[in-house]
């Protein structure tokens, strides 16, 4: 699904060139639940921006769903973003003057989906995250966990191939964090590649695979206990 080869990215900070990504090779398959860990400044947010087509890479190649994603115009990037990628942010990033269902329906508006269909789909996805009864509420009337679930519904409503979550539990307590992670784990079954950026080990352990980033390079890429279990179960299943 995601195929990164030798990806480099630098930022110019005044006179200094900040080399953030220093040759990333990464493959993420459909249906995988991957966490990317790293200290701040390790380049994990930049990596997510590159994968999410919010930022361009300087060097290397990036294929998403078999399509080359290098050198896109901003308009085409916006199109692909809308069709292939869903975002979940640490601070939820819901539009404050729109109700939950309107927030969820927004990506469909930019895809030109008719209003009725839009609202039907938005309602459906709100129900999936267990918030059907909060559809008419404004974000400020919802708890943090509820807001993040609305954001997840918004990220999924376009049926993306990839869901990118930047510290999705960073602003939540441990109980709601687990609720949100349960929702993200549930998506896995639908063939969506889920990439979670986090610095919390217990969150990372709730994913199948852990990619560790240090100074713009991947230093570790392993299956987690859960992933191993899932993998073993899968192996056992296929073997048996």
């Amino acid at each position: 699904m995601i195929r990164l080869r030798n990806v480099h990215k630098s930022y110019r900070m005044g006179d200094n060139l900040l080399h953030v990504l220093r040759g990333i090779d990464l493959d993420i398959a459909a249906g995988e639940l991957v966490s990317i860990m790293g200290a701040s400044g390790s380049g994990k947010s930049t990596l997510m921006n590159v994968i999410g087509l919010l930022d361009r890479l300087d060097e290397g190649s990036y294929e998403l769903d078999g399509v080359d994603m290098t050198g896109l115009t901003e308009t085409r990037a916006a199109r692909y973003r809308g069709q292939l990628i869903g975002f979940v942010f640490q601070s939820f990033h819901l539009i404050p003057f729109k109700t939950a269902v309107e927030n969820v329906a927004l990506p469909l508006y930019y895809q030109g989906v008719a209003r009725r269909e839009r609202n039907r789909l938005a309602g459906e996805y709100l129900e999936k995250v267990g918030l059907a009864d909060r559809a008419g509420h404004l974000p400020r009337e919802l708890s943090g966990g509820q807001q993040q679930r609305v954001a997840i519904a918004r990220a999924l409503v376009t049926r993306p191939k990839v869901l990118l979550a930047d510290e999705p539990t960073g602003a939540l307590d441990s109980v709601t964090s687990r609720e949100v992670m349960a929702v993200l784990q549930g998506i896995q079954g639908e063939g969506v590649a889920v990439v979670i950026i986090t610095h919390e080990h217990d969150i990372a352990e709730m994913t199948d695979r852990l990619v560790h980033l240090v100074d713009g390079r991947i230093t570790e890429d392993r299956a987690t206990a859960r992933g191993g279990a899932v993998g073993e179960a899968a192996l056992a299943g296929s073997g048996g």
Binding site: E74, T75, A78, R79, R81, S91, P96, F97, P107, R154
Partner: protein
């Protein structure tokens, strides 16, 4: 782009901050309101002043006899010129440009008065001898009876028309002045009509205090046989007043042996010139008003631009979110632009309506012009539909221009940075 959803997105954004939207809208509202009121008032002033010309052919020329200031053809300077019936005939027969010619005689000369009485009532009024054609030059309304006709002139009838004020002084209220006898400098005339001016102001007051008798009757009654004091000449429609004036003066100067370059021998006045001067003045005023009005409007548009810049800054995060979920740069630009246009056109339309309404109220409060009423220099303020639509078009365009900069600013912020802004 133009579906209902699009407008709902814009509406939601504008409705989100009502006070800000209202204040911005007010700037534009005020701009177009002022523009409309200014232009309307300009038109009112223009209407008020030009109504002084109503009922008069603007290519009219007036000439009167004076004293020469230069010796010519062996004749000394300072010679008194007197027009005659022969001049009248010469003007009528020799100048193809002339459409109407009306000679006039006046008792006591220019602005002179005569004693007009009826029994115990008496007053001093201007008395003129006129031909029926004067109606083409002067805007008189016969409110009772009839005007001087051709038969009065050929038969030298002793009939008279009196102004409104003369009637009030000489006749009792309720008394029918038609058929009544009056004495003008001791000569008896029968009243056949009452008239008033179509104009207002000082001119109308003069008209109200005047008496008209047939031209020929004046000549015989007041010892002026063959004499003419004053000619009013109306040119053929295609002839300009200036051209006519030159022709008339040239003919009269040659007939009276006045030096061609003598500016004093014959006095003349041409209505077109006055009319053009006033028209020019109002064209100038109108241009000035447009400049002032458009300036105010531009200030409003700049206000919109300014506010939208702040709005864009405030909404940086929201726009970042929109772009993260698939909004293209053009859809973001379009949204800001349409917000600007919607804001300016709705507010502008309201300003247009309010301005026109105010002008209508003012127009309704101005008493209708009538003879003898106070001089009204301000009449029928209002703007024509063309000017209104033009103002609205200017508004929409300025809205779009006002939106351009903020729209560009909105897409220039990178979505990553936009999302980072908290």
């Amino acid at each position: 782009m133009f579906d209902l959803d699009h407008w709902q997105e814009i509406w939601a954004a504008l409705a989100k901050n009502r006070l800000r939207t209202l204040l911005t809208a007010f700037g534009v509202f005020w701009g177009i309101f002022l523009l409309v009121v200014l232009l309307g008032s300009g038109n009112g002033l223009s209407n008020g002043v030009t109504s002084g010309f109503s009922g008069m052919a603007t290519n009219s020329v007036f000439v009167w006899a004076m004293r020469t200031s230069k010796p010519y053809a062996g004749l000394p300077a300072g010679r008194r010129i007197e027009f005659t019936d022969e001049d009248w005939q010469a003007l009528a027969s020799q100048l193809d440009e002339v459409e109407v010619i009306a000679p006039r005689l006046q008792l006591g000369g220019w602005r002179g008065g005569a004693r007009v009485s009826r029994g115990q009532h008496t007053g001093s009024y201007s008395v003129t001898g006129e031909v029926p054609e004067i109606q083409r030059v002067q805007s008189l309304v016969v409110s009772a009876g009839r005007f001087v006709n051709q038969l009065d002139v050929t038969e030298r009838r002793k009939v008279a028309l009196i102004g409104q004020r003369v009637r009030e002084v000489l006749f009792d209220p309720g008394e029918d002045p038609i058929g009544g006898d009056i004495q003008i400098n001791g000569v008896q005339f029968k009243v056949v009509g009452v008239y008033r001016s179509r104009q207002t102001g000082r001119n109308a007051d003069e008209v109200a205090q005047s008496v008209i008798v047939p031209f020929s009757s004046f000549q015989t009654a007041f010892n002026a046989v063959g004499k003419v004091h004053w000619f009013a000449v109306v040119g053929q429609p295609q002839v300009s007043a200036k051209e006519l004036q030159e022709k008339v003066l040239a003919l009269l100067k040659s007939r009276h042996k006045i030096a061609p370059d003598d500016r004093r021998g014959i006095g003349s006045f041409n209505l077109q010139e006055e009319y053009d001067k006033i028209q020019g003045l109002f064209t100038g005023i109108r241009i000035l008003l447009w400049i002032v009005g458009l300036g105010t409007l531009a200030a409003g548009a700049i206000g919109v631009s300014n506010i939208l810049l702040i709005v864009v800054r405030e909404r940086t995060k929201e726009l970042g979110i929109r772009r993260a979920v698939g909004a293209t740069p053009w859809s973001v630009r379009g949204q800001i632009l349409f917000e600007a246009i919607l804001l300016t056109s709705v507010a502008g339309l309201a300003g247009l309506v309010a301005g026109v309404a105010l002008l209508e109220v003012i127009a309704a409060l101005i008493p209708p012009a009538a003879a003898g009423s106070q001089p009204s220099m301000f009449q029928a303020p209002g703007i024509d539909a063309g000017a209104g639509l033009l103002a609205l078009a200017v508004l929409i365009v300025s809205g779009a221009v006002a939106g351009l900069l903020p729209a560009q600013r909105a897409v220039s912020i990178h979505p990553v940075e936009a999302l980072r802004a908290d």
